[in-house]
Amino acid sequence: MSGAIATLIALAVGLGALFIWAQRDRAHALVVSYANEHRRFHTTGSKVGLALFALLFISAPVGFSWIGYGKFHLPNQLIPGLPLNEKWLVVGVYAAIYTVGAIGMNLLIGNTGQVSLGHSGFISLGAYSIGYFGQDLTVGGKHLPGVLWVVIAGVLGAAVSAAVGPFALRLRGNYLAMVSLLLVFLAEHVARNWVSFTGGDSNPRNDLPGFVFTIWPGKSIRFNDGGSTSFFDTFFLTKNQGYFWLCWVFAAIAVVLGRNLLRSRQGRAMMAVRDRDLSAEIIGVPQMYTKTWAFAVSGAFAAVAGALYASYLGSVQPGSFGLDFSILFIAMIVVGGVGSVYGSVLGAIGIAMVKDAIDSAKPLLQHLPLVQIDPAKRGLTLDIFSSLIYGLLLVLFLVYFPAGLAGLWGRIKRFFSAWPFAS
């Protein structure tokens, strides 16, 4: 009871603070020049929010699962009673990987207006490229360092994706969506048949390399060896802790790149092409260059996401990146907000949480009618159940909140900052 009252009071105080803040910030949010419109932070709130987010990001692996193995033995749960364990780190890692991919997809679909369902093809390209560049390839008897093969995956993704750009010059809307289906099938065909690169059906990639960071001669952090490894012989990082930090660094880079791209000349060109490509061309925006560029950036982001995904999972086999995987990413950008980098992050976190909620609700779900845990049997298997949920989210957001979570947040903010003059 007292907990509920405390929550209510906290909520009231929070809302009040938000209200006062919004009122204070009203003049701040005014746009008076073009340069002003393209500034990085529009309000103090966004700066504070970013700082809080960064703090959360840095402290999460420590707070959610305390380093509990080394010389400094600290309790596994910092605050007893709260569900703090690695489960949330896993969700965070997926959210970060999805963020990278979703930003890439949003730049292409949301900002350039090229509806492509081929995203999972580029994700699988990234995933398989680490099998080759991280596992098979050795230079002077040594494997390549982790960051390098992520970069290689990104470059490969950009190169292959840029080759699709010219097709988008002739194909629009429905046609492009149809053609992009080929990318998904082609990626799967290559995954099954180019055995020397992908391992194929008979020899799927396992034990993919984790990241190795050499900080000191003889002192390195490895993130992918299942258990824990030493870090200066003092602290131990588990795999999830390491990947949480690493993947969010990549996600942060993706966010900064995406935001800056949209603030730049190239970003405005992309949006002009989205709104009407013919008119854009007439005012001097090169259509070919802009579309190719958008495809290349999107493919690079997708491949980096795929590389991180495969490295985190540790294995990849043909058939894991089908049309469903593309639809998952589309659900992310629709839920988060089409055409917004911030929305991509929200959507990625949201879908990662929904995915985890479905997984952890397994014991509850099996009591529901029709739900079937055994995938071979008749009924709603978990795969189908989750794709049903994603499909439902997709359609609900399309119908009721076309601007996604980002737009919803904007509406809430506008309500407070414009209060008493608008409702």
């Binding site: 429905n174 149809m178 065909h189 009924g379 189908i384």
Partner: protein, 314 residues
Amino acid sequence: MTQFLNGLVSGVTLGGIYALIALGFVIIYRATHTLNFAQGGLLALGAYISYLFSGPIRGVNFNNPPSLLRLPYFVAIVLSMLTLAAIGWMLEVTVIRRFRGKPVFAVIMATLGVAVVLGAIMNVVWGTSPVNLNTPFGDKFSKVGGVPIKHIDFFTLAVVAVIALVFFFGFQRSKLGTAMKATAFDQEAAIAQGISPNLIFGASWAMSCALAALAGTLLASGAGSVATQVSPSLSAFALVGFPAIVLGGVDSPEGAVLGGLIIGIVQSLSATYEENIYRYVGHDFWRLTPFILMIIILLFRPSGLFGTKEVRRV
């Protein structure tokens, strides 16, 4: 030579089925300018409903894939088409209508959502293990000039021919067909003439879904030799309808039929000569050939063989 003729025959049959699927796409596209990504789900659902009406009576229990009646195969096909027509009309009224005038992206996503829901329904009712249709044809075949042709292939070709004839020479000249053409040509003018677009859209979806049911049932009966049973994987064949309509022109029913036939023949021949080419292009390349053909055609003739050329103004 026999190998070639064999491939050609199953290619023509498969092409006939693709023609039905493509015709379904074109009917919906002409009416609502929507690509129906749920066609695959509807195709598989049609096959399952044929099984529901014609399969061995098992009743509704949760251990076996249910089938209710044991009607003759041909009656089951007709009933399945009627059921799917009703489902299609309902889909248009409940879901697709809300997305009228929305961006392409939203409509595609909505139909994909419908496909997901249909997949879930099929998995709940029938499960993932394939079931056999109760066909009178079995594996029987007759030799024509030394080439064995399966009876189901004869039946399929006859059905496709009848459907095409009825569609082009009967339906398109009927009142509803003319109204559909008018709506596709100029919606406002059609409304001014007293044609209800809601009726046209609903009827288009109903027809398209009925064709999907027919195509699905024929595929599952073994026509074209690409599938022999009713299973959720049938839905993948509907995607081949896209290359077919691109080849013929997205808004041309004649083109859809011709495109379907060409795609079917190309795919079947590339499957026939699989062992000669797999060293260069990999196993199961025949699944990709329609899409590769589609890319080539789109690059050289974006509006297909019969499609109206798109004029874009600034």
